[in-house]
Amino acid sequence: MTDLAVRTEGLQRAFGRHQVIRGLDLAVPRGSVYGFLGRNGAGKTTTLRMLMGILNPDAGTMTLGDRTVRRTTPKMREDVGYVSQQQHFYPWMKVKRLGSFVGAFYKRWDKARFLELCGRLAIDPAQRVGELSGGTRMKLAMALALAHRPPLMVLDEPTAGVDPVTRREILDLLRAMVDDEGVTVLFSTHQIGEVEAIGTHVGVLHDGRMFWQGPVGELGDRVRRVSQAPEGVTALHTDEQGTVVWGEPEVVATLPDAAPISLEEAFVAIARQDRRP
């Protein structure tokens, strides 16, 4: 068993002539909470959909658990809890019926756990899905994704468009799953705060490739703002306040007049850069 829960190598995907993913190497350590950062349209959703087998990659391989494949099979999905960006459930189904429907496809489906999660997230099992608010539907998606006790959770912007209370509930639930059950979480977001709040690892997607991935704390150590970029580091972005540079932590730490910047500033600088390091 490797120490990686998810790994992709040379993953590529184009839509028509538009190359979205250009050889992505993703490595999600087992037991980590991996924040997958990128601008809108950077390819985060496309990557997660390829991991789930909803889309097929044009090239590259994917490893989920111990299996390396070119395309995720339905069988492999049984070990993944997936929450998509938008929750389109059958509006005519009641929550409990939706649980039964989804549960029919998972061998490890735990009906009691699903109902317990519904209770914990304040979802009425007797209510029709069509009557639920957007935030409650997202919580329902979380409950559905967790009820079969998957070792890996893949979440596509799980807190997008929800109110702060619901957002907190979702993040608390994720944190609890990680702490109590050792679940590996891979979630895409462009909310840096979320990555700082619950993430242990982060990967930054830029121009269809992985710009950098590693422990969350290390990202801050690799970036500084300087008045002028010296030799040995990469200038990411220059504005009237100076130049944001990127380099190895030990090099960056020794730069004269270097000022630390927030993760959000670092992400913006990476996203705005014109070339890769």
Binding site: P74, H88, F105
Partner: protein, 589 residues
């Protein structure tokens, strides 16, 4: 468990819409039953074809399209594909459910129609099984095709059009080639396909269905269903309206083009034919059914009669089973028969066998004369009696005649015509006349008379062959060798027939009230039949809508609820067992 969950989801997702469509289909089926029954078509089973040829395929297109695109249209597709279900499972569940619904609808249509038709038509089980196989394959081909096409998304219109054009090109270039369409199993009429099942179309229909399923599986599985997602295009209200308009235009357009279509073989030519040399008697039914034995007998009799009177080839006769109704002749030609190729006779099989054969022969002879006999009452009169004379004793006719003439039927011969007598009495009188002629001048005399009538080519007025005039001029005597005494007897019968008016009903208007009166007490069971006559008609026609009124013993008149300003006609029907003998129609002066 996975299958059950998927099927349950599909059923719940589409149940209400499909149920609504099925109710609509059921109402169409009921209407077609009503129309078929009202028009008294050859078999009620034609309604199964009527449903399977147009309404069911429309339902199939609706259902297949809905099954395929509904999840895409509602955004639930991604939720479904993220579950651990293989694309093939999703496709097969939808295909299986849709096919089950479509086949179920077809089976219910077939089963209920068969239940309704069995009592009236006596459907053989073998034919029902054959129809079931035909419809199953027909719907398999249709649903498979529609399901596959629905997966083509926006290209489905192009694909349907291409198929349409390819089909027309194929049938134009290979008019005698095998039918390779997916609907070939039910493309002909029920009369043709039941007698000559298009089994050659079974394999194409099956393969088209399989092809549709394979296309669905390929497109759903190809690169995670990317083509399906990319090509997805829901049908808009405008497109629905356009399609509906195009469908109606095609229906009317096809009707308008009908006269331009090359003439093919008549449908009746596919019916089973009784073996005969001079006759062509076909039966619209199974060769195992009771109508078949009647047809065989008629063919035999026509063969023999043709040999005697010199007819090399009788015009075709088609026998169709009829249902009984009060006052309805037990053998009657179809009102819409164009008479061009064959006479279609509706036959009430509850009538005694010999009687049917006599009456069928009569109609066959009349038909052989074409329009001439229909317009000349006296030629019709001779031919009316010919069937009975040829086959032998006609007890029912004798009873009818006896009730009219108090048993004075010996030596009867009259020019009293069918219009003046009832449909039972006129042939009986004619038959009696031919019998008396045979007694007076021999069998050859009657045959000679028939030869003269049947060989008439229409160059001279048919009145020239009038039995009455020929008798008066001594033609029958010369032609048949009948003695003068026969002529005298003939004259007596004519006088007697004319003198029998007090035995008929009279229709009068008293103080604005239409009243039917008759001179003597009617026998038990007799009824009065009356109707309001269309002003354009000179006399009651075959399919006149009438009303039957029971008559009390001793009753001599009956107030009729007809309009005094309109032409109300009435007649008396006397009853012999289950049979009603119709008297002549009478109306106000």
């Amino acid at each position: 468990m996975k299958w059950l969950a998927l099927l349950g989801k599909e059923l719940q997702q589409h149940g209400a819409a499909v149920l609504g469509a099925l109710v609509l289909l059921a109402s169409v089926q009921v209407v077609t039953w009503g129309v078929s029954f009202f028009e008294n078509k050859l078999t009620l089973m034609n309604t199964v074809f009527e449903l399977a040829v147009f309404p069911l395929p429309v339902f199939v297109l609706f259902l297949a399209g809905r099954l395929v695109v509904h999840d895409h249209a509602r955004g639930t597709h991604e939720f479904l594909v993220a579950l651990p279900i293989a694309p093939a499972h999703r496709v097969l569940a939808r295909f299986g459910l849709g096919m089950a619904v479509v086949q179920g609808a077809g089976l219910i249509s077939l089963g209920t129609t068969a239940l309704l038709a069995t009592r009236r038509e006596g459907l053989p089980l073998s034919w029902l099984l054959q129809l079931f196989a035909q419809e199953t394959l027909h719907l398999w081909g249709w649903f498979g095709m529609a399901f596959g096409m629905a997966h083509l998304g926006r290209f489905r219109w192009l694909a349907w059009w291409t198929l349409f054009v390819a089909g027309i090109s194929y049938s134009t270039h290979f008019p005698d080639g095998p039918d390779v369409s997916w609907f070939g199993m039910m493309s002909g009429s029920v009369d043709v396909t039941r007698l000559d099942p298009p089994w050659g179309s079974a394999l194409p229909a099956f393969l088209w269905g399989v092809a549709g399923l394979v296309v669905s599986l390929l497109l759903s599985g190809w690169r995670g269903g990317i083509l399906l997602e990319r090509w997805f295009q829901p049908i808009t209200a405008y497109q629905r309206a356009t399609l509906l308009g195009a469908g109606v235009a095609i229906m009317f357009g096809a009707d308008a083009l009908d006269p331009l279509a090359p003439e093919g073989q008549d449908t009746w030519a596919e019916l089973p034919s009784a073996p005969a040399e001079r006759a062509q008697v076909r039966v619209a039914g199974s060769a195992e059914g009771p109508l078949w034995s009647v047809g065989q007998r008629v063919a035999t009799e026509l063969d023999a009669l043709g040999a005697e009177v010199g007819v090399e080839r009788w015009r075709p006769v088609v026998l169709v089973r009829d249902r009984r109704a009060p006052g309805r002749p037990t053998v009657r030609p179809t009102p819409d028969d164009d008479g061009e190729h064959a006479v279609v006779l509706r036959v009430d099989l509850d009538t005694p066998h010999d009687d049917l054969v006599r009456r069928i022969l009569r109609e066959a002879l009349l038909h052989h004369m074409g329009g001439l006999a229909a317009w000349d009452d006296e030629a019709r009169f001779v031919l009316d009696g010919a069937g009975a004379w040829w086959v032998g004793g006609d007890e029912l006719a004798l009873q009818a005649l006896a009730s009219r003439y108090d048993g004075e039927v010996d030596g009867l011969m009259s020019d009293w015509l069918a219009a003046g007598l009832g449909p039972d009495e006129a042939p009986a009188l004619a038959w009696a006349g031919l019998v008396s002629l045979e007694q007076a001048a021999g069998r050859e005399a009657v045959l000679q008379l028939l030869r003269e009538v049947l060989s008439h080519d229409g160059d001279t007025p048919i009145d020239g062959l009038s039995l009455r005039r020929l008798t008066a001029d001594g033609w029958v005597e010369r032609s048949t060798g009948a003695p003068p005494s026969w002529t005298e007897g003939w004259a007596r019968v004519v006088a007697l027939a004319h003198g029998a008016e007090e035995r008929t009903v009279a229709v009068e208007v008293d103080d604005g009230q239409v009243v039917a009166r008759w001179a003597r007490e009617l026998p038990a069971g007799a009824v009065v039949e009356w109707a309001t006559l269309d002003p354009s008609l000179l006399r009651p026609m075959l399919d006149l809508e009438t009303e039957i009124v029971e008559v009390e013993p001793g009753q001599r008149e009956l107030a009729l609820p007809g309009d005094a300003e309109a032409r109300v006609v009435a007649r008396i029907l006397s009853r012999e067992g289950d049979v009603l003998h119709a008297g002549p129609w009478a109306g106000p002066p």
